[in-house]
Symmetry: C2
Subunit: 471 residues, 2 copies
C-alpha cells in the first residue's frame, strides 16, 4: 500500500501582511531560508518508503503559484486539485480521499499543512512508521506535539497514557482553543499534546467516517469530484456541489466523533510561522537583537525586525519595531502591538485597498510585474520562462507594444510569425491575434506597453493553439 | 534707483534627506503649501516699489529646476547665474553685484536666501523702506530677527541701542555660532538679534567693500563674470577663475569688517525649514499630535510626522517618529534622535549610495523618471511640457523605443519627421539622429525603452537644431 501526501494549501494572507496577500499566502514566501514553506512541505517525505508524489488541494487562484513550486521542487507527478473556494479542511480532505480512491484504489493519506516549518523531519520517520501500522489496521492517526509555548490558538489532546503502548495512544479528550489559564495548566501537567494538523489514515477509513459522521460533506464533495475537469495539470473541482458542502474542519467533523483515533507524539522543531512575532523569535539576530534584511542602514536600533524589498531604509533610534517594506505597501508596528494588524487588514479588505495583490503576478508562463499605470496606458515587465508560451489571444480595447529586453521571443502578430531579438520590438494593434513563445533555454524579458480606452485583465479573448491549450 | 533681489540658492540637501537630495535641495520642495520655498522667494517682493525681477545665483546642476520655478512663478526677466561649484555666499554675492553693475549700472541689491519660510512678508515692507534710505546713503543693511528659539546655529548681532534711531542701528558686535549657554543669555537679555541672511546695499558700495576687504574674491569673481557665457536663459560663470576665488561667507568677508553696517529689526513669522523637527513644529497636527500626509492608515500613533510618496503606509503603536517615504529611500527615526541624520547622510555620500538623485530628473523640456533598470536596458517615462522639445541627438551604444501614452509627439527619426499619436510608437536604432517635440497645448508622455551595451547618460551626441539650441 502506498502513502499519498495530501498537502492542504489554503490561507488568507492576513497575519503576515504586507508580505503575504490573498493572492500570495505565506506558505509561498521564502521566510526562513531559500525555499518557501510550501516547497519544503512538497519534498518533506519524498525519501520515506512507498511514498508517492503529493496531491495538493489549493484555491483556484493559486494554481500557477503551486505549479511553479512543484516545478521548482522537481516533482514528477504532482496532482493539483483546485477548490472553487476555501471551505475549511474537511471538504478538502474528502476531495483528496475520493479522488485517490478513484485513481489509485486503496492508499494511505498523509495530510500535511503547507505552512509548517519543521527543522528536523527525519525525527518524524519513526513516528510515521507507527502511524502506518495503525492506519493499515483501520485507525486514524493524529500526530501530537509536546506544547512548549502558551498558545491558545491550538487544539489540545489528552491521550490515555498506557505503559504497554507501541508509541501511540487512544484519546481521552479534545480541547479546542482553551483559555490561556487552561493552556498554562496543560503545559505544567505534561499530560497534553498539541494537534499538529498532520494526520495519517487510509482513504477507505476516512471515506467511511465521512459517510457516517458527515454525510452532507461526503455527498456534495463526491459529486464535485465526479464532475471535476482535468485541465492542463489541474483537477478543477466542480463548483456548484463543492460550494453546497458544509464548510467545516476535519477535527470537528471526524476526529472528535470517530472512535478509532490514536495520537502519535512527535518530537520535531515545529513552528507555525503564522505571525510576525514568531518570525522574529525564529530569526537570526545581531547583538542588538535586530534582524535587518535588505538594504538597511541603522543607528541606535534594537529589538527590531526589518525587511526591505528593494529600497534603502535608514533607521535611527528605534526600539522593538516591525518594519516590513514591500513594493506597494509598508508596515511599521511596535512589536507588542502587532496583534492589531489582523483587524486593520480586515478593514482594508472591506475597503478594497492594497490588500489582495502584490505588483508581481504569477502566470503559467512565468510572471509579470506592473511598472507604471496611467488612465489610458500601463507598462508591464513580462518574465517568460524557457520553453513557455503565452496563449494565443486578442484584446478588443487595447493595443500592445512589446520590446524584448532580454533573450529572444518568437512572436505571432496577426498573420505573421517572427523572431524578436533583444532590443527589437513589435506593435500589436487592438483586435489582432497575438502570442509570445520563449523557445530558448534562458528567460525572456519583455517590456509591454499597453494603451487603450480600457485596460482590465478581462479584455482578453483566448484562441486555442495547435495543442489545444488556452490558458 | 531700482531694487534688484538677489536670491542665493545653494544647499546640499542633507538635513531633509530623503526628501531633499543634492540634485533637489529643500528650497525646491513644496514643504509648507503648494508652492516651493524658492517659488515664494521669487515673488516675495514683486509688489515692492521699483523692484526688478530677481537675479538667482545657483549651482549649474540645478539650472532646470530654477528655470522651471521661474516659469511657474510667471517671471518675465529673471537672470539665472550659474556657479560652476558652490563657494559660499561671498563669491555668489560678488558675482551678482559685478553682473548688475555691468548690465544695470547702479542699483540696490536685496540679498535673499531661497529657503526661508516667511508667512507675513508685508511686515517687511516698512523695514525695507528704512533699509532703502540707508542703502542710498552708502550703508549696508542687515535685517535682524528677534530670537525666539534657542538656536546656536545662527549668527547673533548686538545693536547699539539709540533712542533717536529711525528704526535701524549700528552694530556693537557680531557673535557667530555662540554656545547654547550664550544663546540663552541673548534670549533673556532681549538686546540681541539674529542675522536673517537678508541684506540690502548698493552694488557700488558692496563692490567697493569687496575691493577693500576681500580683494582676492573680487579679482577672481570679476574675471569669471567677464568671461561668463550667456547660454539660453543662463549666465554661466567662467569656471577657472570662479574656482580660484576663496570660498567664504559674506558675513565673515565684509559684514564683520565694514564700518558702514546697520541692522534693521524685522518682525516676520520667519522660520528656517532646515530640519525635520522644524517641519514637524510648523505642520498642522491632529488631536494625537500627528502630521500624516499621503495614503496612511494608523492606530495608536502619536507625535509622529509621516509622509508617504505613493505607497500605503500602515502604522501601529508608534510614538514620536519621523517616517519619510520616497520612491527610492525610506527614513524612520525617533524624533529626538533625528540629529544623527546628518552624519548618516554624510556617510552615505562617502559611500555613494542613494544620496544624490531621486528617480525624478528635471530637464529643460520637462522631466523624466526611471521606471526600471536592467543590465542592458532601462525604461523611462518622459514628461514633455507643451511647446517643449528635446535636442536633436544620437546615441552610439543604445537603441530607443518610444511609445506615446499621452498627447501627441512630433518626432524626428533619422531622415523622417512624423507625428505619433497616443498608443503609437517608433524605434530609433543606435547611431540614428532623433528628437521629440511637443507642439500641443497639453503635456506629452512617452515610455522610452532603451536597450544597448552601454546606457550611461554621457552616451549622447547633440546636434544643433534649426534654432542653434543644443541643450
Amino acid at each position: 500500500v502506498k502513502i499519498l501526501p495530501v498537502i492542504l494549501s489554503g490561507g488568507s494572507g492576513t497575519r503576515l501582511w504586507p508580505l503575504s496577500r490573498e493572492s500570495f499566502p505565506k506558505q509561498y514566501l521564502s521566510l526562513a531560508g531559500d525555499k518557501s514553506l510550501f516547497h519544503e512541505t512538497l519534498i518533506r517525505f519524498k525519501d520515506f518508503p512507498d511514498t508517492l508524489d503529493p496531491v495538493i488541494v489549493c484555491n483556484h487562484e493559486h494554481r500557477f503559484l503551486v505549479a511553479e513550486e512543484c516545478q521548482k521542487a522537481k516533482l514528477n507527478n504532482p496532482v493539483i486539485i483546485l477548490e472553487p473556494e476555501g471551505r475549511n479542511t474537511a471538504p478538502a480532505i474528502a476531495a483528496a480521499a475520493i479522488y485517490s480512491q478513484k485513481k489509485l484504489d486503496d492508499c494511505l493519506l498523509l495530510v500535511l499543512s503547507s505552512d509548517h516549518l519543521i527543522s528536523n523531519a527525519e525525527n518524524l520517520y519513526e513516528s510515521l512508521k507507527i502511524g502506518v501500522e495503525n492506519a493499515l489496521n483501520g485507525l486514524i492517526n493524529i500526530f501530537g506535539i509536546k506544547p512548549v509555548k502558551e498558545n491558545p490558538n491550538f487544539g489540545y489532546i489528552k491521550p490515555i497514557i498506557d505503559n504497554t503502548s507501541d508509541g501511540s495512544y487512544f484519546v481521552e479528550k479534545f480541547i479546542e482553543k482553551p483559555s490561556l489559564k487552561k493552556v498554562k495548566e496543560f503545559l505544567s501537567s505534561k499530560d497534553y499534546l498539541c494537534n499538529s494538523g498532520i494526520f495519517l489514515f487510509s482513504n477507505k477509513k476516512i471515506i467511511n467516517d465521512f459517510k457516517k459522521y458527515s454525510p452532507e460533506i461526503y455527498k456534495y464533495v463526491e459529486k464535485s469530484v465526479l464532475h471535476s475537469k482535468v485541465d492542463l495539470d489541474f483537477v478543477r473541482l466542480e463548483e456548484k456541489n463543492f460550494c453546497l458542502s458544509p464548510a467545516d474542519s476535519i477535527d470537528y467533523c471526524i476526529l472528535q466523533k470517530s472512535k478509532d483515533i490514536k495520537v502519535v507524539p512527535i518530537d520535531v522543531g515545529w513552528n507555525d510561522l503564522g505571525s510576525w512575532e514568531t518570525l522574529y523569535d525564529l530569526s537570526e539576530k545581531d547583538s542588538n537583537l535586530n534582524h535587518l534584511r535588505g538594504n538597511i542602514l541603522s543607528k541606535n536600533v534594537s529589538g527590531t525586525y526589518a525587511i526591505s524589498d528593494s529600497r534603502l531604509l535608514t533607521l535611527i533610534g528605534l526600539e522593538e519595531l516591525f518594519i516590513i517594506d514591500t513594493v506597494d505597501a509598508l508596515l511599521i508596528s511596535k512589536r507588542d502591538q502587532i496583534s492589531n494588524l489582523k483587524e486593520i487588514v480586515l478593514e482594508m479588505k472591506k475597503n478594497n485597498i492594497e490588500f489582495t495583490h502584490h505588483k508581481k503576478v504569477y502566470r503559467p508562463w512565468g510572471w509579470y510585474e506592473l511598472l507604471e499605470k496611467g488612465e489610458f496606458f500601463q507598462v508591464k515587465k513580462l518574465h517568460v520562462k524557457p520553453k513557455a508560451r503565452l496563449s494565443l489571444q486578442e484584446h478588443k480595447y487595447r493595443a500592445e507594444q512589446w520590446v524584448v529586453v532580454k533573450g529572444e521571443a518568437t512572436v505571432i502578430n496577426g498573420s505573421r510569425t517572427f523572431k524578436l531579438e533583444t532590443g527589437e520590438s513589435t506593435y500589436i494593434p487592438k483586435k489582432t491575434i497575438h502570442s509570445i513563445e520563449n523557445k530558448a533555454a534562458i528567460e525572456l524579458e519583455i517590456i509591454e506597453v499597453q494603451s487603450g480606452s480600457y485596460l482590465g485583465e478581462d479584455d482578453i479573448y483566448r484562441h486555442q493553439d495547435l495543442y489545444g491549450r488556452a490558458e
